[in-house]
Symmetry: C2
């Protein structure tokens, strides 16, 4: 993919419904970094992420990947940290070291404790119990998130500044709704999700605003809360 190196703007390999791609779209938007999107369709033809060409971009055969500054980076939290360290304006981590730890705790609970256990790739192995399985791990994680948020949160996940934790939480809240989970059980998560719903950087990163969002999914139920469970 040598043509990538001529790209001036960062290029994000993204899938409209991928929550990990969504995290990075949020970080880029919040930092006001212009970028282009190269859609990778995780469903079509067995999944474009498994193509030989894309394996050179991301050997995990997952989205996202970000081509930036002449490098290709993978793993959403590694990418967000790279953006934070190279473009510190509009920070996504607090100054206080303990608050930073709280942000990273919340991010890791989602990135390693919830999302991997309810994503498309895994669920294809689980068989009939998809919904029950996903709900189990989401509830476990959300109980922990809710407990931490009860002391860490202000307007957003940690205090009153938007952080990487919010970039992880909002896509995961959407995933929870897809699994039919009523977020009223988790009042802090629900409150932060509502707070950020109409924030411009969050609106622009939403799955339904992506260039690869398929118009055939354009129905009220889906647009409202992405509440249908389709894999």
């Amino acid at each position: 993919m040598s043509s990538l190196s001529t790209s001036v703007k960062p290029l994000l390999f993204s899938y409209w419904r991928s929550s990990c791609s969504w995290r990075v779209r949020l970080a880029l938007n919040l930092k006001e970094i212009p970028y282009d999107i190269k859609p990778i369709n995780l469903i079509k033809s067995g999944g474009e992420q498994h193509s030989t060409e894309y394996r050179d971009v991301n050997p995990m055969e997952l989205v996202p990947a970000l081509h930036i500054d002449g490098h290709t980076l993978i793993e959403s939290l590694a990418i967000m940290h790279y953006l934070e360290e190279t473009r510190p304006e509009r920070p996504l981590l607090p100054q206080d070291v303990y608050q930073r730890a709280k942000v990273r705790e919340l991010c890791e609970i989602i990135a390693s404790g919830i999302q991997p256990l309810q994503n498309i790739g895994l669920l294809s192995y689980v068989g009939e119990r998809k919904k029950e399985w996903g709900q189990h791990w989401i509830h476990r994680g959300f109980r922990a998130l809710e407990k931490i948020l009860s002391t860490s949160s202000g307007k957003y996940c940690v205090g009153d500044e938007i952080s990487m934790a919010d970039c992880c939480l909002i896509p995961q809240a959407c995933n929870a709704r897809r699994f039919g989970i009523d977020l009223r059980q988790y009042p802090n998560i629900l409150r932060i999700d509502s707070e950020l719903e109409n924030y411009p950087a969050f609106r622009a990163a939403h799955p339904t605003k992506q260039p690869d969002y398929p118009p055939e999914q354009d129905n009220p139920e889906f647009l409202g809360k992405l509440s249908n469970l389709r894999f």
Copy 2:
């Protein structure tokens, strides 16, 4: 657990065989931070991590947790970053921002792309296919790690300095052996694992050197490579 606040040294809630606890033991040892261990037995009586008392320490009901500087922190990567930011001597991240991204990529591949899919808690849901299931996800991750290491590694995962990535790789290599995976398929992983095997901080963090290591497991096979698959 109010008595914890009187602890002078950091207190690590750890289980001898937990690879996530092992990561933090490595980080503490490499930074030469003295600490005490409070063993949490993940097996006994249905798992001490599920007790009411421990849920107050870690609402994810997982190890590790670290009580330090008057705070309790969870999630191994959040803890390692906290240690790095509060005790920058003997760094676990390179100075170069791109190299830092490579360290975090390798960490996240292990922490979110491999370990959650092959840990005890998940495997109890998988039933008879435990070994096959674990091997599948470990191979996917190890293929990606090996590809990145082929350009990032020097003596260790990224260049010639030990980093957080090595703290994640060594416990994961041990887990791979437990699943019966022959690491000769992954020459960079095998080389780094051999390189670090006798490094003092790594020797001291090994499961068999922990206060809660059960002597009844003291057999040549186990001591050699922890190659048995017991859950």
